[in-house]
């Protein structure tokens, strides 16, 4: 952790302004800033979100602008400050809880799963729980096993939750605004390696629906289904497949895991007849298994091959950089998997 002088606290400098090209953290920062300016019920809490400005700068400048009650630095008590968010949401607040990394969210699962997801239902629909829980995760750079997890599999199985996973600055902005506007509890997954990703940004553009998947590359031979950083890995693989094999891969960015936009996936697969799920999380009982199973049922007669999966290895994430890279999919693995899926091509048959 870098040492900063007191007067350099990022909570006290200016928040991000909209510009035609933004980084993911800036887009998230802008979304929070706008939501807080528009609605006084919106407040942020989490570890180092205030004066420090957030571990990934996502709350930069908001402490100075909105004060300590609306940008609250909490003690290291993940379950209780997430539960605090649930309690405040029950009585009129619209809290945005930042859990420093998804790994710490394991300590807060009681508040998320036992309370946030269930209170509306258990109360016979009397209460709303407009809570957003943001959590950065994924395999980053040598953070080792306790700081490199993906928890899609755990959270996607919980009735009462929505789960978003934006991969671009534009989606990060749109989906965070939509999540804060929603009256339901939402887990907002961020990827630690995407915060500095740049992309085009237009605050005035018509947003996609919060739960829509998006075809980010057109193709006709195979559909690659991915979310978060695996979208970029899939796009890189698709470029190589076109250049090296003449295979045109369609790439879909899921954007939302729960609900899951099956119509968009099924429409693509009915054209390409093949699908590969590219998942950073572990394969066994992972979220990709849900996609593959549902697609198989819906598109059985359209499919020319079983649905393939490329996913993380069944190991805790190693510290060693080379081993770490091997523990999650890369473009090469995706390319190989697509080649296997499509079988021998005419041009390579002797």
């Amino acid at each position: 952790m870098t040492t900063r002088k007191r007067n350099e606290n990022m909570g006290l400098i200016a928040p991000a302004e909209p510009k035609p090209e933004m980084q993911v953290w800036e887009a998230l920062n802008l979304a929070l800033n706008e939501a807080m300016a528009e609605d006084e019920a919106v407040f942020i809490l989490g570890e180092d979100v205030g004066l420090y400005g957030g571990s990934y700068r996502v709350t930069q400048g908001l402490y100075a602008r909105y004060g300590e009650w609306r940008v609250r630095d909490t003690p290291i008590s993940e379950n209780s400050f997430t539960g605090l968010g649930v309690g405040a949401a029950l009585v009129g607040g619209r809290p945005v809880v930042e859990i420093m990394t998804i790994n710490f969210a394991l300590l807060a699962l009681d508040s998320i799963i036992n309370m946030a997801a269930k209170l509306r239902y258990m109360s016979g629909g009397q209460f709303i729980v407009p809570l957003v829980v943001r959590m950065p995760g994924g395999v980053a750079k040598q953070l080792a096993a306790q700081h490199s997890q993906r928890l899609e599999h755990t959270l996607a199985n919980v009735p009462g939750l929505r789960i978003l996973a934006p991969a671009t600055p534009q989606d990060s902005y749109w989906q965070l605004r939509q999540a804060i506007d929603s009256d339901d509890p939402i887990v907002f997954l961020e990827h630690e390696l995407l915060y500095w990703k740049k992309g085009p940004f237009d605050p005035k553009a018509e947003p996609l629906p919060m739960h829509a998947a998006q075809v980010v590359r057109r193709g006709r031979d195979v559909t690659l289904i991915a979310w978060h950083r695996m979208v970029d890995v899939s796009l890189e693989a698709a470029q190589r497949l076109e250049a090296e094999d003449g295979i045109l891969a369609e790439v879909i960015d899921l954007r939302s895991l729960r609900p899951l936009d099956m119509p968009t996936l099924a429409a693509s697969v009915s054209e390409t007849h093949r699908a590969l799920v590219v998942e950073e999380d572990c394969r066994f009982a992972g979220f990709g298994a849900e996609i593959a199973a549902e697609l198989s049922e819906r598109c059985f007669t359209d499919l020319d091959a079983p649905i393939g999966r490329v996913a993380g290895a069944d190991v805790p994430t190693p510290y060693n950089a080379r081993l770490e890279a091997r523990s999650i999919p890369d473009a090469e693995q995706v390319v190989q998997a697509v080649r296997r899926l499509l079988g021998p091509r005419e041009e390579v048959v002797e």
């Binding site: 407040f43 009650w69 609306r70 609250r72 909490t74 003690p75 008590s77 379950n79 209780s80 400050f81 997430t82 539960g83 605090l84 968010g85 649930v86 309690g87 405040a88 949401a89 029950l90 009585v91 009129g92 607040g93 809290p95 009681d110 508040s111 036992n114 309370m115 209170l119 509306r120 239902y121 258990m122 109360s123 016979g124 629909g125 009397q126 209460f127 709303i128 407009p130 009735p159 009462g160 929505r162 929603s182 009256d183 339901d184 739960h211 829509a212 998947a213 729960r258 609900p259 899951l260 936009d261 099956m262 119509p263 968009t264 549902e294």
Partner: protein, 326 residues
């Protein structure tokens, strides 16, 4: 004490006892399912604390919360119907005995995971403080809950930000079958606030007047801006932990000793002795309460069941697989 106040307290004491007796009967008849945690012996705590609270205050309670709900003004019909799983219940039949809610009366549940009440309470307290409100939060917990991390985490945050929360320990000396000396190193729960600078006070939880007075004082301090307070009410439950527990880990002598300090009889004696209530009034109230409870059981019995499986899961319903909803 005003006669009307004494009457209201006595009514609630009788109602609490009678209601739980009827619930136990309905449970043995198979009309109530799941877990059923009853309150006889502990009535002075819910009744003393809630009679000291204002209508604007919020209540966050545990899974042993039928009486808290009743005293807060949720009708015996709505509570009993919830126990019966009926659509007319205060949670429309979706919550059950451990999850009673009433938005209008600021009754925020019924939590079945030990230690959750703390975090909900500090969340509500945070919202009140952020908006500079005058309301307070009454947060109930048992002696067993004092060993959950959320207790210490929440006390810390409540003290740090001076949240208007009254933490009320219903110390009945047992976490299910484990006696307090075997589960807590420092069994004086009110002393646990010391680490967080939260004033703690112990009160006889079998004495409704003592609880009433202590709660009034604590709420006054909270409204004066003194920050969170901790009130330990020493009490006792006559029955087992739930209907599934015969309570065999306690001696008959122990139960008899505590029953000799019964909160209902104790108050009755004081109220009649001080002339707040007359014997005839007591008898009339007892008859009235019996009728109220009989009516509640009849109402619950005759009420319809909830129909829709997915009613109220989300405020903005969606199709899990993205299809447009019909």
């Amino acid at each position: 004490m005003q006669k009307s106040e004494a009457r209201a307290i006595y009514h609630d004491l009788l109602l609490a006892r009678e209601f739980e007796q009827a619930a136990a009967e309905a449970y043995t008849q198979g009309k109530i399912g799941g877990f059923l945690h009853l309150y006889p012996g502990e009535e002075a705590v819910a009744i003393g604390t809630l009679h000291a609270a204002d209508a604007g205050d919020y209540v966050v309670s545990t899974y042993r919360e039928h009486v808290h709900a009743l005293v807060r003004g949720i009708s015996p019909r709505a509570v009993m119907a919830e126990l019966f799983g009926k659509a007319t219940g205060c949670s429309r039949g979706y919550g059950g005995s451990m999850h009673l809610f009433d938005r209008e009366r600021r009754f925020l549940g019924g939590y079945a995971i030990v230690g959750e009440t703390f975090t909900v309470a500090i969340g509500v307290g945070y919202w009140i403080a952020m908006n500079e409100g005058r309301d307070a939060v009454l947060c109930y917990f048992g002696d067993g809950a004092a060993n959950q991390g959320t207790f210490h985490e929440s006390l810390n945050m409540a003290a740090l930000w001076k949240l208007p929360v009254l933490f009320i320990c219903e110390n009945n000396h047992y976490q299910i079958g484990t006696e307090i000396h075997r589960h807590t190193a420092v069994p004086e729960i009110h002393r646990h606030g010391v680490a967080y600078g939260i004033p703690g006070r112990k009160v006889d939880g079998m004495d409704v007047l003592a609880v009433l007075e202590a709660t009034r004082e604590a709420l006054r301090l909270i409204r004066d801006g003194a920050g969170p307070q901790l009130l330990e009410c020493e009490t006792y439950r006559y029955r087992g932990h739930s209907m599934a527990d015969a309570g065999a880990y306690r001696s008959a002598l122990e139960v008899a000793e505590l029953a000799a300090r019964d909160p209902v009889r104790q108050f009755e004696k004081i109220a009649c002795g001080n002339g707040w209530l007359k014997t005839e009034e007591c008898e009339a109230l007892a008859r009235q309460v019996r009728e109220e409870v009989e009516d509640a059981v009849r109402f619950a019995d005759e009420s319809p069941e909830p129909e829709r499986l997915d009613e109220g899961v989300h405020a903005e319903p969606f199709h899990l697989y993205g299809e447009a909803r019909s």
